[in-house]
Point group: C2
Chain length 204, copies 2
């Protein structure tokens, strides 16, 4: 399904809500008000109500939102209701950390393929997944992988992205410290940890 004119910022916040809701589900909480949820995710409650209202009205006045219904709904909106096959390119320290990180699985991502160009690493394993040579990267086409994480050095990132996009990837989490040129239909999220840190001293 596709919704008309949902602000980007709303989509960016949905995972935050989902994280809080998963936590609340563990706690067996049945319903939650926008006010309470706002405390968890450190936002104004009106933002939450407006965000959710884009997808229909599933809150109950006087009570709030049903936790498990809302959690399911957000997973549906974000297409996290089925496992999202994901490829990781770059099995350096950062790549390895990511592949071993349980958080991705919890949100529905399944890292089903890992590629690296270092002979020393190819054939090795991270968890259950064997590291394959980047020369075979185009093989992902057959496994219908749509999501990718790039954790290569910057000079390999663009080439990697090109091959990924050519072979069916439509979403990229780019952890290399450079911007990628991709067709408009492909969504890229670039995170450079050094740059995120760099803005902090200004405020001190």
């Amino acid at each position: 399904m596709r919704y008309q004119k949902v602000p980007d910022e709303t989509i960016r916040r949905l995972p935050r809500y989902l994280r809080a809701l998963l936590f609340l589900q563990q706690r067996k909480t049945e319903s939650i008000s926008s006010q309470k949820l706002a405390e968890y995710v450190q936002l104004n409650s009106a933002v939450i109500r407006k965000d959710l209202s884009h997808f229909g009205a599933f809150g109950k006045r006087g009570t709030g939102y049903n936790v498990s219904l809302l959690s399911k709904t957000i997973r549906d909106i974000l297409k996290l209701n089925k496992p999202q096959k994901t490829v990781l390119v770059g099995a350096g320290r950062l790549g390895t950390a990511i592949a071993s990180f349980p958080g991705f699985k919890r949100y529905g991502f399944d890292i089903t393929a890992i590629y690296d160009n270092s002979k020393a690493k190819i054939g090795g394993k991270i968890g259950d997944t064997t590291i394959k040579s980047t020369s075979r990267l185009a093989d992902i086409r057959r496994s219908e992988i749509k999501m990718a994480i790039i954790a290569t050095p910057p000079d390999a990132a663009q080439e990697t992205a090109d091959i990924l996009v050519e072979n069916g990837v439509t979403g990229i989490l780019n952890l290399s410290s450079c911007y990628l040129k991709v067709p408009k239909r492909v969504k890229v999220r670039t995170i450079d940890l050094a740059m995120e840190l760099s803005m902090l001293p200004y405020y001190s």
Copy 2:
């Protein structure tokens, strides 16, 4: 120095400019127009001109900006002109990846202390830095560390943040998957990689 009313978004973009400028300096480029710089950082050129104009007028009409002057100016604004002592808490896979990552040093961050609570890791080294016990975390007060990176499991993150803030930290890059409560004077940037990935399937 402090500037009046600089938008947050401007501060967030300065590191992007800096990254491009460092690259251009390597290439021995002497000056660059907002137009060209905009291509590098994938922004509209007017954004760049407006951002920079908050800090004074150091472009030359007809020519553009002097690369090394601008690079120095941005480092000054961001307080990256002197090494920023930084503490890393959490020496798991992600923490180790970060401590070994050369990018931080390039932007002026010096990871001078690393803490972890695992007996197996305490006393070990990452690069030249010895891992110390989190029970000694308050020691950072003496070294005048202002910046911190939290790469602990979520359940340790808030406690860690409290001790850091108590002992002089004013900027935190929080890589744990939970939000932190800190006094207003402290700036926190939270990055949860799983959440960054979670917004991508929506657009596919």
